[in-house]
């Protein structure tokens, strides 16, 4: 049980900077997710923590110990690999017992630990089978059991669910979350699936091109993305970003969008800058008649999703995704009017993509 600290960690492969001066503190017992597309550096960071890659700059601490120069076997970590890496020539029992054998535990301790861990992941009846005789989902559990059995300080997970089919993945998410809650071990979990990230982690670190774009609780990352990248990556569908500029209008302001104009109040700092207006699909209400402070848009595509319909609409030059009632089926090309929920509007600098922290909510009049 220990916290983890990355201190200005950099790793370079040839000409590619995989992780660029990354610093991150993970609390003892925290479940943190490293999220991002392939190539963003999340797996590299994990492997540096594991000791499978040697860092080119920076230091790594586990539980206050500087482990930067230590080989993987001495860092008191446990890892679940994307391909599970279950040893094909050993029984499940021997697989799970492997780490304990390396720690030179007694046979009795090993037996007791293996059986209890196997019960935790529901494979206690399969212990004398070989990996080739069980399913992929079961092999994943073996990898899990093997990692948990060693009672390591930190658990590392490298996309453990990505090789499972969609249904199994969903079930395993809930199971894993409950399991980790029970174990209470510090866990670093790498994934490219933002649904997994949102649903499972205590905090999410969204990574891009070797740096951490934002690290915060799932809700904060979802509601207050730090830039267009995070807003576009997290959430289904991605956050809408409308090209906007704000000008003074007497006591208040006017937001000029490609598809219309909105009256604002209280966002004087936004005047004169090139901006993006960020808003999520579910924060946009659809009206069928023009009205005050609404944006006019033309329907392009209607995707029924069961619980609601996802409309793709064009407002001027911007394409937006909008959530609508599941019984609302406008014709393509039909006009709709969009009401943007005032508390859900986010402003971002158009040039840098960064969120403007000053006024997260500009009230709509």
């Amino acid at each position: 049980m220990a916290g983890v600290r990355f201190d200005h960690v950099s790793k370079i492969f040839g000409k590619v900077v995989a992780t660029n001066d990354v610093s991150l503190e993970v609390d003892d017992g925290e479940f943190i997710i490293l999220l991002g597309p392939s190539g963003c550096g999340k797996t590299t960071l994990l492997r540096c923590l594991a000791g499978l890659e040697k860092v080119d700059a920076g230091r790594i601490f586990i539980g206050g110990r500087n482990v930067t120069e230590l080989p993987p076997g001495r860092r008191r970590i446990a890892m679940v690999f994307q391909s599970y890496a279950v040893f094909p020539h050993m029984t499940l029992y021997d697989n799970i017992a492997f780490g304990l054998k390396m720690q030179k535990e007694s046979k009795a301790t090993i037996k007791e630990r293996v059986e209890s861990v196997a019960a935790l992941v529901h494979i206690e009846d399969l212990l004398d089978r070989y990996p080739a005789q069980i399913s992929g989902g079961q092999r994943q559990r073996v990898a899990l059991a093997r990692a948990i059995a060693t009672k390591a300080d930190v658990l590392l997970m490298d996309e453990p669910l990505s090789n499972l089919d969609a249904l199994l993945r969903m079930e395993m998410r809930a199971e894993l979350k409950a399991l980790f809650r029970e174990l209470g071990t510090t866990t670093i979990y790498v994934t490219h699936d933002q649904v997994e990230a949102l649903s499972m982690g205590d905090r999410i670190a969204v990574m891009k091109h070797g740096v951490i774009a934002q690290v915060d609780t799932p809700l904060a990352v979802y509601d207050y993305p730090s830039d267009t990248y995070v807003g576009g990556f997290v959430g289904t569908p991605p956050m809408n970003f409308l090209v906007a500029s704000v000008e003074g209008n007497g006591a208040g302001q006017l937001a000029r969008l490609s598809g219309g104009t909105l009256r604002l109040d209280g966002s004087a700092e936004l005047v004169g800058r090139d901006l993006f207006l960020g808003i999520r699909a579910e924060s946009i209400a659809v009206e069928t008649a023009p009205g005050d402070n609404l944006i006019r848009a033309a329907v392009v595509v209607v995707e029924p999703l069961g619980s609601h319909n996802l409309l793709t609409v064009r407002a001027g030059e911007d394409m937006l995704k909008v959530a609508a009632d599941s019984h609302f089926f406008p014709n393509p090309g039909a006009d709709v009017w969009l009401r943007l929920a005032p508390g859900k509007i986010r402003w971002l600098d158009r040039e840098t993509g960064q969120a403007i922290a000053a006024t997260p909510e500009a009230a709509l009049v």
Partner: protein, 272 residues
């Protein structure tokens, strides 16, 4: 890619395949029945085309000819030593090629492959001179040294492809569970690599077993089997040549059966 040949083409293909298979197998058949007959039968004309009198007469004639058993023993010894040398030196290199993308790995691979481009004569002749100076001329070790130089590229490339076929995450998993890299290789990778390494070993053995030139150049009185048979084949009586031919051939048949899977895998990227 599989060719979808037209119907008539397919029958033609079967006929062609059959004819070619016959072409390969019939000479083997002939030497086999010849070897398994009595010396007298071999002197008959026309030759027996069917195994009427199966006997080990010719084989025993060959084995009891002067020098055969000794040469046979030497061939086995040399092949065994070559095996030990080649694997001891080559397996680590194969592992390095498979697991590490290090600078110069391509150049190293190219160097290894290019040694096959040099005729064995260019190696064997100077070695025979050198060995005299070192006092190991006409010795088994000397021949084994030459054979290892020949077989090393195969050993390195085959073991490299064997290791490449085993996921490196297995080693990494073992290392995160407390092993050093060496322990991880020993406990996890080698057991899985065993079939492939066995194939590599057989490959090396047969390379050594089959060599005629280097053995002929490097030995005088302590000849290996091929060198012995070559020297003797000029004046040797018929049963000697027939049985000798079969004896030299037979291990190849067995070997090919065991290593056929690996024959195609070792060419790797070179042919794609």
């Amino acid at each position: 890619m599989s060719l979808r040949a037209p119907w008539i083409g397919r029958t033609l293909l079967y006929l062609l395949a059959f004819a070619m298979a016959l072409w390969v197998i019939v000479p083997v058949y002939f030497i086999a029945i010849g070897a398994f007959s009595t010396p007298d039968d071999l002197y008959k004309y026309p030759r027996e085309l069917w195994p009427h009198h199966v006997s080990t007469g010719a084989l025993s004639f060959f084995l009891h000819s002067t020098g055969t058993i000794a040469a046979l023993e030497r061939s086995v010894m040399v092949a065994a030593i070559t095996l030990a040398f080649s694997l001891a030196v080559g397996v680590p290199a194969g592992y390095a090629l498979a697991r590490f993308a290090f600078r110069g790995s391509d150049a190293f691979r190219l160097t290894i492959v290019s040694t096959r481009a040099f005729p064995i004569m260019i190696l064997a002749i100077p070695l025979s001179v050198t060995f005299i100076r070192w006092g190991i001329d006409d010795s088994l070790v000397g021949v084994a040294i030459a054979h290892t130089a020949l077989a090393l590229p195969f050993a390195v490339l085959t073991t490299s492809s064997v290791f490449a076929g085993i996921s490196d995450e297995l080693e990494e998993a073992a290392m995160t569970l407390g092993c050093s890299r060496a322990e991880a290789v020993l406990r996890v990778i080698l057991p899985l690599a065993l079939p492939g390494l066995a194939a590599a070993a057989i490959f090396v053995f047969i390379i050594s077993w089959n060599d005629v030139f280097a053995a002929s150049v490097l030995t005088l009185r302590h000849r290996t089997l091929p060198a012995q048979v070559l020297t003797a084949s000029g004046e040797a009586p018929l049963p000697y040549r027939v049985a000798g031919g079969f004896f030299l051939l037979a291990p190849s048949l067995v070997v090919i059966f065991f290593i056929r899977k690996y024959l195609f895998n070792m060419w790797g990227r070179v042919v794609k």
